[in-house]
Symmetry: C2
Subunit: 234 residues, 2 copies
């Protein structure tokens, strides 16, 4: 590739369309970064979140928004990509949940790394959170640090001594903290999609782990929950 | 995902259809691994190598062969994926070549990691080589080690203490050494595709860096070059 000057105000932001990645994008924008948003259509059940991602990228004035398609369902192994595995609805359980997608964050961060290198971006932002998603190994700070170390050996920019940072500003926040932060950053909470199995309109099931964690977060934050639920009376 | 026992004789092998990955597959088979071959159609110019990969997977009795499609050309930045950048034909130059695909090995290894986790595989084999491809940062041993460290923090298996190994048996070999090893392992050298811009029949251009390195390797190994070249008299 041709030489690209490292740009200290340019970031790739992984944007799923969920609450956490939306808040991360808003955070990066407040910090002054020009943001290049990357969404990945990986065969997930909840692809309506990609529509939310498009709206969020526009609202937060992303420089560009790319949606890369890759079919992780060929590997199976997760309730999010394998239609033979039901999304659990019986409450958050200890351990690694069935909704864990093998190596998902590694794949998403790797794609972000490729784009960051072409752009000469200095930072990759990801909405990983180790509090509510403690069962996902690839949301832990030790994992994110190891990815950053690897990334800084992987690229042309790294060979030239320009450091890339993996930024996860929400990693230590509770869901209630994230909701408060999102509200302060004018994230349109109602438009974000957390549910693992929303309907085609983006309405949430209210029963999967992601819905339960989100609902508990609004209660804990003392805020009304604006999420559109299937069969809700309002 | 459901619990999978780590299988010490099960490996994911990244198989491009080139000489190095074919030799790596043959090596893993000789070591007794049951091999699950993964090829990635990433929008490369030389997609005919995927046909070679299919033949090689069959010949070496892969348990399965998956081809995952992901369009890295959306990011651009490489002569292999961006049709606006010509493949250099003026000889191997120092530094990182235009054919370097940003974060390619990281993306390929990440996909292999996802499948390895679903399979419970103990090893991922990759044909990375640091001798002839010293200009590619993601072929270096330090990079591969950092990926392994990251991978062992990324997965459910890692949380359970089961180590995954990233194996690059060719990393320190010269192209001549690889050709000798390939011959000893009955790799069908004529069928492997190294060229960055072969024609639709899989015939090599003879002018790109990959062709030049391959040709020099056969000369150095003292073996006849069975490669099918465009416009060759035989």
């Amino acid at each position: 590739m041709s030489a690209v000057e490292r740009d200290e105000c340019c970031a790739v932001v992984l944007l799923s369309g969920g609450l956490d990645s939306a808040t991360t994008l808003a955070w990066a924008r407040r910090e002054g970064y020009r943001c290049y948003c990357l969404s990945v259509d990986y065969g997930q059940r909840h692809r309506v979140e990609l529509d939310a991602a498009r709206k969020l990228a526009t609202q937060f004035q992303a420089q560009a928004h790319k949606i890369v398609r890759i079919d992780l369902s060929v590997f199976g192994g997760s309730a999010l990509t394998d239609l033979r595995i039901d999304v659990p609805e019986d409450g958050v359980q200890p351990g690694i949940p069935l909704t864990y997608v093998p190596a998902r964050n590694t794949i998403l961060l790797s794609l972000a790394l490729g784009w960051a290198e072409v752009l000469g971006a200095s930072d990759i932002f990801v909405g990983a959170n180790a509090v509510d998603y403690s069962g996902y190994p690839d949301c832990r700070p030790a994992y994110l640090h190891a990815f950053e170390v690897m990334a800084n050996l992987a690229t042309k920019a790294a060979v030239e001594g320009k450091k890339l940072s993996i930024r996860a500003p929400l990693v230590d926040l509770s869901k209630a903290d994230i909701i408060r932060l999102a509200a302060s950053l004018n994230v349109p909470l109602r438009e974000t999609v957390s549910c693992y199995q929303p309907d085609a309109l983006g309405q949430a099931c209210g029963r999967c782990d992601a819905c339960r964690i989100r609902q508990a977060g609004f209660v804990s934050a003392g805020r009304a929950d604006p999420t559109r639920y299937i069969n809700a009376s309002t």
